[in-house]
Symmetry: C2
Subunit: 197 residues, 2 copies
């Protein structure tokens, strides 16, 4: 018996959140233009699926995909499992992926986090985070697909708004999906800490 926890098949296929909600998202509500028309339920290729993160995605290249975005460090399967469990227990984490089922490989990802507020009658606020698409799949509208999916999901979950921070070169892309720079109120500032104290 090793130190590692062994999961049964049904545990490995465990979703971070219920997958059914993605099937009912109404893509006609988004200002984004898809040519040809695709959606989370019909992503354009029968070998492609849009779904919540699964515990087994550690072995499907989810972290390798994220490392195309920024450093991920050397995350062990145990660390991944623990973070997956913590996110699920906390609630409010909607990590969403696109899988190429032919290769059992994650090719796109975006995270919606839902923040509980007191303002606006105990409202919810969505945040878009960590959007990444494998660039060997260009021309399949996957960036647009994954962002619109989690944006519609935020609305479906009752968020009063969805927010994101982005680089200058991505402003036009997000504007085409319905995001706006609000006049006088569009500054994202950061303080970076050297290391945990």
């Amino acid at each position: 018996m090793g130190m590692e926890k062994h999961y049964r098949d049904e545990e490995l296929s465990e979703y971070l959140y219920p997958p059914e909600i993605l099937q009912k998202l109404d893509f006609t509500k988004s200002p984004a233009t898809f040519k040809p028309k695709i959606s989370a339920a019909s992503p354009g290729e029968d070998w492609m699926v849009v779904r919540p993160l699964q515990r087994s995605d550690y072995d499907k290249g989810f972290l390798q995909l994220l490392s195309q975005l920024t450093s991920t460090g050397n995350i062990s399967k145990k660390q991944f499992d623990e973070r997956f469990t913590q996110m699920k227990m906390s609630g409010g984490y909607y990590v969403t992926v696109i899988e190429d089922k032919r290769l059992a490989k994650i090719i796109g990802a975006a995270t919606l986090t839902v923040e509980q507020k007191f303002i606006h009658n105990c409202s919810l606020r969505g945040r878009l985070e960590d959007v990444v698409v494998n660039d060997t799949y260009r021309g399949k509208q996957l960036g647009k697909l994954i962002v619109v999916t989690v944006s519609l999901l935020a609305h479906e979950l009752g968020c009063y708004k969805m927010s994101l921070d982005c680089k200058d070169k991505l402003i036009k892309f997000y504007e085409s999906l319905g995001y706006k720079l609000e006049a006088g109120n569009s500054n994202a500032m950061n303080m970076r800490f050297e290391e945990p104290s």
Copy 2:
């Protein structure tokens, strides 16, 4: 017996998070300049205390203070209680307040939310939200005090960075506390939803 839940005194004084952590924050680590020197542990007046939100703060004007910032709607005690409980169960919510103990009144507030990530070796990211100070307490450095408190708290909790969105006129204030607009990557965008679908 009414419909309303009745709380015992020890429930009303319940904190959203353990108050001890605020006492050990090291204000010399912040680039902010305080004249005179104050801190979360010594906020400058003996009738003032910096502490986590308590369940009893519904009756101490916490929501009235928030309504100076934006609309709060008409939140009942039951709704407040439920949101307090949900935040506590989820974890990651650090609503922090300043109380005027002479009046049993909340006079300042800021929220730190801690977001769990996979990137950067399963890191944590802090966010600063809903900062407000009663403007009849001007000149007491309370805005600076509450923001530095939750910023140091984010570091103490192990966040690799702390982020905020702000209006143009607040950029200089946040810069004086160590926040930066990062070149080419400081755009905060929003999509607002009419109402939950």
